[in-house]
């Protein structure tokens, strides 16, 4: 009888109707912005379902496994317009029985959402915000961070530049707050891994359009001027999260130098070209489902929803408390095509993860680099480590 029931469940994956026992339902939601950011390169322009598509694939993966365990995962999708109330959106989801809310929101909105659902014991899985402060002075006990921080990304890049012995950096920083935060992380990384910032330049964003019919002629004149008369340097490191100038730098610098940071060699959690450690299988599944390549935001959302699925499978439970406790326990780990298991830092609930360094076509390297040692996990050579943390989980 049991054999029959399991056979029937396996069949359910492919059939719309299902005769097996009522499965336990585990509700997830995704809150993302309605308006997507503009990028300098058309190639980088995010799709409408950027991030969301990764969460949907993970839900599908969770449900394939769930069919064998009598668990069913659902995903509610919410898009917030500029200025919309993130706290109200999160509260409404929690009131509707959603226990795990994936967010791609600004740091402030992430905190508003987290504080709004705190009493309802819902967990926020931050898939979009890179801000270190969310893991440090503004950390929350009900927020798990899947996105890598700016400091993790900067450290991943700095380790590779140290390995290359490109120790003299010219730092070019954008004029927006996010650019300045990334620059802070890069300065910290330079100090940690023995690089020297020989000079800094600021690219002032005067609000020009990203698309113009004859822009290339102008850019070709601007970028050499921006980078001329610099002291001797090995690599130009750009901090441009706002997408106002970074992608203009390669091949246009005054001195012939490689570019890294926000353009050229970019540190990121995932890349469409990543195919090691079985990643090709995930990439294939994603392309098949979405007819486009998988971005880092897609991967961060996939990872978050898979973390919930993994914890539910291991605990054989749909109880939100049990699932979320398991995610925070030392037994929890996730396989995510990065060559080693991913675990949570217990002091601030940040997911440890290798950082890929990609040039837009290929994955050039993966950090941590060989030789950067750590007493507990080499992944803790990336970002703010336990002894330095300002987080007190509450």
């Amino acid at each position: 009888m049991k054999a029959f029931a399991l056979g029937a469940m396996a069949f359910c994956i492919f059939a719309s109707t299902c005769l097996a026992a009522e499965p336990v339902e585990i509700k997830l939601a995704y809150i993302g912005p309605a308006k997507l950011p503009s990028t300098l390169s058309l190639v980088d322009q995010p799709a409408d379902d950027d991030g969301l598509a990764g969460a949907r694939l993970a839900i599908q993966d969770n449900n394939t496994t769930g069919a064998f365990l009598d668990q069913r995962f659902t995903l509610e999708e919410v898009r917030l317009k500029d200025g919309a109330d993130a706290a109200a959106a999160a509260s409404a989801l929690a009131d509707g029985g959603v226990s795990f809310i994936l967010t791609d929101l600004s740091a402030d909105d992430t905190l508003r959402a987290a504080d709004a659902v705190r009493q309802r014991s819902a967990v926020i899985l931050n898939v979009g915000a890179r801000d270190d402060r969310l893991r440090e002075e503004d950390c929350r006990a009900n927020v798990i961070h899947v996105a890598p921080t700016r400091s993790m990304l900067a450290d991943g890049l700095a380790q590779y530049l140290a390995w290359k012995r490109w120790k003299r950096w010219l730092l070019v920083v954008g004029s927006h707050p996010a650019d300045r935060l990334y620059a802070d992380a890069l300065r910290r990384a330079a100090t940690r891994f023995g690089a020297k910032i020989v000079a800094e330049r600021v690219f002032e964003d005067r609000g020009g359009a990203r698309r113009t019919d004859s822009g290339v002629t102008l850019i070709q004149r601007q970028m050499p001027v921006l980078t001329q008369d610099a002291p001797e340097y090995d690599v130009l490191v750009a901090a441009d999260e706002s997408e106002t100038f970074g992608a203009y730098l390669p091949y246009r610098t005054w001195d012939p130098r490689p570019v890294a940071g926000s353009a050229g060699l970019v540190p990121k959690s995932w890349d469409a070209a990543h195919d090691q450690w079985g990643a090709i299988q995930l990439q294939n599944r994603f392309v098949k489902l979405n007819s486009r390549r998988m971005t880092e935001l897609d991967m961060q959302a996939w990872t978050a929803a898979r973390m919930v699925g993994e914890a539910a499978a291991r605990t054989h439970s749909g109880d939100p408390g049990k699932v979320s406790d398991y995610m925070r326990s030392p037994d929890f780990s996730l396989a995510a095509f990065k060559g080693q298991s991913l675990t949570l830092r217990d002091w601030n609930l940040q997911l440890r993860q290798p950082i890929l360094l990609a040039d837009g076509r290929m994955v050039v390297s993966v950090s941590p680099q060989e030789g950067f040692l750590h007493q507990t996990s080499e992944l803790d050579t990336l970002g703010v480590d336990r002894p330095e943390t300002r987080c007190k989980l509450k």
Binding site: A3, L6, G7, A10, F11, I13, F14, D61, T64, T65, F68, L69, G278, I280, Q281, N284, R285, K288, R306, E310, A313, R314, S333, L334, A335, Q340, S341, S377, E378
Partner: protein
Amino acid sequence: MWRACLLLGSMAVCLVGASEPSQAFTAYVSNEKSNTVSVIDTEKWAVTKTIKVGQRPRGIEVTKDGKYVLVAVGDDDTIQMIDTAKQEVADTLPSGPDPELFVQDAEGKILYVANENDNLVTLIDIARRARVGDVPVGVEPEGMAISPDGKTLVNTSETTNMAHFIDTGTREIIANVLVDSRPRFAEFKRDNSELWVSSEIGGTVSVIDPAKRAVTSKIEFSIPGLRREAVQPVGMSITKDGKTGFVALGPANRVAVVDGGTHKVTKYLLVGQRVWHTAFTPDEKYLLATNGLSNDVSVIDVAALKVIKTVQVGELPWGVAMAQQ
């Protein structure tokens, strides 16, 4: 038995040996990056031929009749059949996309292939070269093993993290056993008393009771000076008597020797870099282990538990299969 006699005067003195003289077998090693299969003579411990195959050869096995070597060439979406007499590719099997690992039934008639892209185990009639059925399983099916009585097929799914028990008669799943992260390979003991499943990212081998279909113990690995994450068990071979298991530990660059009774590691044998899969010579005197990143194969003396030889092969050697001749 072998016998060597000397005539000393009128007295015949005979030396009687207890074992067969060392016999030559043939090992086939798939080289993932070179798109070749290296043929190794196990007497000379030398590569005697390099066979050109399709793109990204990984899973490799000899058919039960010894006539073919089957090799999954993932990027060509097929399984190629190498004629062992001619030592060249003779035919292909319709595996479905990106095949990696597969297993034959006891008679060598049906081939079960893990079809990772579609979450299916695909059944192929080897003689007819035809796809005859599918069984839906978990996300990213990978490891495949068939029970000694032929009644149960086990498939491991890498993202679902389960060993699925499939009835080979009804072709339906009869049980699912949760194991540690990213289960890669499954191997039965010959007496059907245990099924071992290696978890690459979990870093353990789960020992499953095939009758109860439950994990009864876990083999743990601890190598001084190595981080836990570097220990990634993949390929395994268990001796016919079930007393000793060998587990390839990937980037830990070691093969663990495991006591089949206590499930404790008794020794770590240092081999080449990123050791992936293993196979015994038919007489079980030697175990071959492929070292992906050092482009060679380590030869382990099973009785002495020592690495006695290293044979250079192609780039990124992945799987190894052994033939009688």
